[in-house]
Amino acid sequence: MVETAIKKVSPLDGLAGPVGGNVKLTSNGFVGKVIIRGDSDNKDFVMAVKDVTGVEIPTTALTFNEGETYSIYWMGPDEWMIMTPEDGEVALETALREKLGETPSQVVNVSDYYASMRLSGPAAREVLKKGSPLDLHPSKFKAGNCTGTRFAHATIFMVQRDEEPTYDINVRISFAEYLWNYFVEASREFG
């Protein structure tokens, strides 16, 4: 077998960020992401996820629960995303699948499907408002919320981390360069 140094490549590698200080844009690297589908009314399902991750499945729409290693995000009434530190996803996937056994569910590793980037700074909200039809007012969408929505032509899954505000934005990797460049261009006027 030929041995070469293994390199991981992200579509965000090498992209220039915004120029001024009011918007920051960074890549979140290779955060592990696993989608889990199932019925939150089914105790076996809920328990299995809790057992493996140590985190309760959030059943309130647009919220997430954070644990020590894992955090679980509501994506839909029967769909959640579990985030893990880099390279934790395969072990998680295996553990979940094992634990869930016959329980109706789906476990899918989507770590590479989504690129994750962080948009923050005083003008971050203004940048998002350029492409997203979501009401981002601090009283409507705040730290602790997450949701699927749209930004320009991309479907995104967005998490608000704090009130700075800081947003983590997940997007299919094939849209990542487009979205990044859009954010950069949209930031230009804010310096």
Binding site: A61, L62, M75, G76, P77, E79, P133, L134, T147, G148, T149, R150, T155
Partner: protein, 97 residues
Amino acid sequence: MLVIKCPFCGERDQTEFTCHGEAHIARPENPDELTDEQWGDYIFFRQNIKGYQYERWSHDHGCGRWFNALRNSVTDQFVDTYKIGEEKPAIPSDEGK
């Protein structure tokens, strides 16, 4: 430009959704027992109501769920949205007004 209440995510902008036409058209259980006319009716013929109509939407850019809605196709106002499997809301009595 409608505001649509996703039964799961709440009120959202129309551009997050796709409409999939008339709701409550069940796929025939035994297609072989249908005449060509009956089968054609199932795949092609629609009520296309001017007034209140039940229809299907999906929250593509949100939670990805499909749901049903009762909407007035003249005023473009929604009476309600409801989950698949839930009983359909009644047509308001101002019908024909």
